[in-house]
Amino acid sequence: MNFKKTILSALATLFLVSPVLAELVFPSLSYRTGAYGPNGIPFADGYEDYFTLMNERDGGIGGEKVRVVKCETAYNTEKGVECYESTKGEGALLYQPLSTGITYQLIPKASADNIPVLSSGYGRTSAKNGKIFKWIFNFPGTYWDAASIATKHAMDMSDGSLDGKKIALVYHNSGYGKEPIRTLEVLSKKHNFELMLLPVDHPGQEQKSQWLQIRRERPDYIFMWGWGVMNSVAIQEAANIRFPMENFIGVWWSGSENDVTPAGDAAHGYKSLAMHAPGDDFPVYDDMRKYVIDKGLGAGDGSNVGTVLYSRGMYAAILAVEGAKSAQKIHGVSKITPSMMRDGLEALEITEEKLASIGLPGFAPTFKASCENHGGTGSAAIQQWDAKKGTWSFITDYMTSDQSVIQPLIDADSSQFASENNITERCN
């Protein structure tokens, strides 16, 4: 046991962190290593670069400099807990872990510590119900919205009816991948289609048996809830069995450049949901290059600027910055606390004018958060990959999900959480 003691005393000397509290602290729980690193890197680059842009161009948010505290989670919940505990003492205003597993970990912990969590487009869907999840936000859309919109698009492609059709869901066998199942089950009853569930285990390189089953059962559409290497393997496998790519629709986490490029031309026509516009044809990227990348201040090597996941990370940071701005406006102070940040997020409104002033006109759907609604309007568009040009482009407008299906599910799931944890409803 001497060994333990030496390690601990060595550790004790390492923890002498002096918290500097004169800034706005945004932890970046990123993953640049491990099986999901290829997707985690562009997101983390975008997230961290946007805060750098705020500091360099605007001198911070409302005059307060931003400090990003980085911590590597490797998409692992145990490391995520370590990261959360080590960063929360530094005055963290908001957590965005980019992992459904870590989000589930943080929901009770952050709620007890009074720190908001924003899981844009991932995490626990029923956290949309702000009456029960006071500290958790998941705008602009949830997995259940995504499932509904994907079904809607499939219905549009089959001339308005899915009667007797067969839809396969290829999903990451984890909390993340299982999220849409419940919604799809209800939708399959409503629209009378058959649902096939095909789980793929972490990390997703081994999918032969799933695609064999697809070849045998011949579903009309395939939806995919994948992440990391699973995406590109699935697209390659779909190409191998000559599945029509326009009938293969991924969630917004299965629609980035590094998912489709490994399959080459075979990926042409693959579709995915999108919660924001692809490409770098927006004024903000000029600023980003001028103030951050060209000065050598970028978090990464700059090669990811303008990719889908980079924009996604930047969008997450934009929501955080706008939330902080609205918090500063509500409370009239520039140095905000985590609970003020929460108020700011709850009052956040993204309008066309606001997006244009950020330098992203028409980049994302507009929404307004409220006490009851922490999940936005739940709209997304469908984007399609053009392998020849190497670009994603929108083929539909933003569509809204079928709230008549989703709202009862959200109410049921959140009230179950409330009764398990003795939470009384707010906002009444």
């Binding site: 046991m1 060994f3 333990k4 390690i7 590597e72 597993g101 589930y104 970990q105 709620s111 984890s174």
Partner: protein, 358 residues
């Protein structure tokens, strides 16, 4: 000088068989327990509890359990992750089915349930040995994970298959859930570690432990001298699984609070615990602790050293962590194939004759 046996005469069998024959060791042991019991709970904060002490203590229980099976009884097991999952899901089902049941009883019952499951999967050990048994336990690992994924009853049909531990308290102190204080969580785990390590130490030097070691050293010879392999092997599986089950229950309910079976209890977990046992030292109680410390505390210490002290980028630090820990594992296995415990024993022998070696 300080560390010696000279002048310590044994006049009874009890003295002869004591765990710490050297005074210095004995006092050091008392010191560690007293510090752990009376000092740490008063200074511990969230970070130290959730990132350092809880994982260390819980992995120590798991590696004690595996050490009983692999180190003492010689049965290689790759099912540790699966058995931890049994403990975790048993505690979840018990917590949600019997809200008034004390958390202490829940954790113990989870251990008992895991012991039963472990014995079941230990049955093939009566017919197969070595690598073949490792493959059989590997099957247990995959089967159990598949089961907890497939059957909704185990996770109360939650939408994502995740299980979340509700608030449970021991007396007036919350043990599980986000509002539990770090000190109460720490003390709860410390109690289990102390108790289980004490039991393990006493089991391994009694009749049952000797029969395990006889089976490990040569099963045919053991049978000839009258050791019943059925009882020895199955008891090793049962007791080992009991420990691993308790570790799984604590891992889920006290440490993480929410787990997802494929991520938390994958084959990776089985390997990590096996590495702890091998690096710490097969067939050694101290080795279980040393191995757990090596695999749990070293990455955290390295991360803090590289990122906070040296200011390295987090991704480069994370890569270097792999390199350093991998290098250290190879180094230790080359220098001392019998693990850190043996290294410690050699050091003790040297200390005994210091400063006047022959």
């Amino acid at each position: 000088m300080l560390y010696r046996e000279v002048g310590e005469f044994k006049t009874s069998y009890a003295q002869d068989s004591q765990t710490f024959p050297i005074k210095f060791d004995k006092y050091r042991y008392y010191f560690v327990v007293l510090v752990g019991l009376l000092f740490v709970p008063f200074v511990i904060n969230d970070y130290w509890a959730n990132a350092v002490f809880l994982p260390f203590l819980i992995y120590a229980i798991a590696s004690l359990g595996l050490n009983i099976l692999t180190g003492y009884c010689g049965q290689v097991s790759l099912g540790t992750g699966g058995f931890m999952a049994v403990g975790a899901y048993a505690s979840y089902k018990l917590m949600t089915a019997f809200p008034d049941l004390n958390i202490l009883i829940i954790v113990l019952l989870s251990g008992v349930i895991t012991a039963f499951v472990g014995t079941l999967f230990g049955l093939p050990s009566l017919r197969i040995k070595g690598f073949y048994l490792a493959v059989a336990t590997l099957a247990a690992q995959f089967f159990l994970i598949w089961l907890f994924n497939k059957v909704g009853w185990f996770y109360n049909y939650s939408a994502t298959g995740m299980i979340t531990s509700p608030d449970r308290s021991f007396g007036n102190f919350l043990i599980t859930g986000p509002n539990a204080t770090p000190a109460s969580k720490y003390l709860f785990c410390f109690f289990f570690v102390f108790l289980l390590a004490w039991i393990a130490r006493n089991l391994t030097r009694g009749k049952i432990g000797r029969s395990w070691m006889a089976i490990r050293d040569m099963d045919i010879a053991a049978e000839i001298i009258g050791v019943n392999p059925l009882i020895a092997k199955l008891s090793a599986f049962a007791i080992s699984s009991f420990y691993v089950g308790i570790a799984g229950a604590l891992f889920f309910s006290v440490y993480l609070g929410a787990v997802e079976v494929t991520e938390a209890f994958s084959i990776q977990k089985s390997f990590i615990v096996l590495f702890m046992v091998i690096i710490g030292g097969l067939g050694s109680i101290f080795g279980s602790f040393a191995g757990a410390a090596f695999m749990v505390l070293l990455p955290v210490a390295l991360k803090n050293l590289l990122v906070l002290q040296f200011g390295w980028p987090v991704d480069i630090a994370a890569h270097f962590e792999f390199i350093i820990i991998g290098g250290l594992i190879i180094f230790f296995l080359i220098v001392e194939p019998h693990g850190l415990a043996q290294l410690w024993n050699l050091l003790k022998q040297k200390l005994r004759i210091w400063p006047f070696p022959y």
